[in-house]
């Protein structure tokens, strides 16, 4: 899932303090799972914003809603038809949702209520960790399913570096323990009986499929609904 963390209340309030009617919009997918942007969090944030508005002497009306996903027209458009008198939106969906909403609206500002961080999984209840970096050219078959881009601080493909300390990455601190991704890879490949594969040199990565190549899109020609040209429509 895409993991995100709530922005500080003061920061969010600062975005909307001069508006009059603000919609707090949540998302039912990833941010619900990591408990930053679902229905519950919408209620909590809206109430916190109301209290702060009161304390600061601002008259702001806060509306609340949560939709299934903020990244698809199917779920977003019905909501947007209903908000003619809203003058700002705080979206606590991930950054994708904020982008998408803002793109659909144009003349109503959309502010982010969370900091979107990474693509990750639930390690245990209350802990989520990064697992995929979206590099666009998956190499998980080389490393027993442990991503050297997402889980090595140096995105090393022929790891580990000399900084591994008792299975932990050199950047680890008490507050932020980080496992050495490559120590995990070596362990996994050992368990799979494929350690000799790690002796093959992996060449430099083509990062052009990653963020480095510029904003990405995926096109499926077979799924695109062809629009009628004006001539075809007349015929």
């Amino acid at each position: 899932m895409i993991v995100a963390e709530s922005k500080p209340l003061a920061e969010v309030f600062g975005f909307i303090e001069n508006y009059k009617r603000v919609l707090v919009l949540g998302c039912g997918e990833c941010v619900t799972v990591c408990q930053s942007g679902g229905e519950k969090e919408v209620a909590v944030l809206a109430q916190a914003l109301r209290l702060k508005a009161k304390t600061d002497g601002k008259e702001i009306e806060f509306l609340e809603n949560t939709i299934r996903r903020q990244c698809e027209p199917e779920f977003v458009d019905p909501v947007l038809q209903d908000i003619s008198d809203v003058d700002a939106i705080v979206s606590i969906a991930c950054g994708v949702g904020v982008n998408f909403l803002a793109g659909r609206l144009g003349n109503v500002p959309v502010f982010p209520g969370v900091n979107t961080t990474f693509m990750g999984a639930t390690v245990e209840h209350g802990i989520w960790a990064e697992r995929c970096a979206g590099c666009g050219d998956c190499v998980l078959h080389l490393t027993g399913g442990i991503c050297p881009i997402a889980r090595c601080s140096k995105t090393i493909l022929n790891g580990p570096c000399g900084g591994t300390n008792e299975g932990m990455c050199e950047i680890s601190t008490e507050d932020n323990p980080v496992e050495c991704g490559w120590a995990l890879v070596v362990e996994r490949m050992k368990a799979l009986g494929t350690m000799d594969k790690l002796s093959e040199i992996v060449p430099p990565k083509d990062w052009s499929t990653s963020r480095d190549g510029g904003p990405r899109r995926m096109v499926r020609e077979d799924l695109i609904i062809k629009k009628e040209s004006p001539e075809e429509a007349k015929a």
Binding site: T155, L157, G162, I171
Partner: protein, 324 residues
Amino acid sequence: MKSGSNLEKVLDAGHFALTAELGPPNSASDEEVKHKMELLRGSADAFNITDCQTAVVRQSSISAAIMLKQGGMEPVMQMTTRDRNRIAIQADILGAAAFGIKNCLCIAGDHQSFSAAGRLNGHPGAKNVYDVDSIQLCAILKKMRDEGLQEGGDPIEEPPKLFIGAAWTPMGDPVDFRVARLAKKVAAGAQFIQTQGIYDVNQFAEVMKKVRNLGLHEKTAILAGVIVPKNAGMLRYMNASVAGVSVPAEMIKRFPRVKKDAPKEEKKAARLESQEIGKKISVELIEQVRDIEGVSGVHLQAIEWEKAVPGIVEAAGLLPRPQV
């Protein structure tokens, strides 16, 4: 003979090689490097210049390497992949080669979060690069030199002459993969290796057995790292915090202990005594690693204490350096 560098010639001739380290300053002046050059002149076959070690901004390794070259000393340029992508790396290699710099140590480099250690602000928020890793970097240098091609395949008008080096942490975790990783560095083109600091010689000797079994010591020149200890605290710190470095307890016990509230004179005496013990230990380490089959030399690091190097080298019987 690939580069004709002094270090390569010394190793090729079968001598026990010696490299030492010079740390560049946080300064826009050339004075400090020139001063350190004179402290070190003649005491090794080539001199490593660190490349923003621990991600702390210092005068670049290449600029100091040029100063050394122009001052009649042979540099070992260090290149991390943390701060440069493959384009900048290759440009820097060609530029360095144009100044006659031949030895290059290929390393990934400490993560930039290290730069904010202690009292430093550093640049922990910098974007890191790591476009390629140290092994891929060795292969890039090899391709430039032997095939006259850039990494992307375009031909280079005049290929650089390079003596390619890599670092190795023999006792790093996970320890059962470290020799295999050394083999990868050698396969990628590493002609000389400088290891992380060794204090537990027995442990290192055990690892070298595995290295010899694979014949790696014949394919690359392994220079054992000796980091000169200034005091017990430094050893304790390295033992606890530096990956792959383990210090035998007996070694730490050799240093004098001084109470926190001891008088200034006592503390000063202990400090000087510690320095002498540290130098003595370095000489012993050099002699011990020299006895291990497959070790082709020593890489001596006296961090911010370059003036200690000539004395240690002399006491270890390694002066004068061979003229090749």
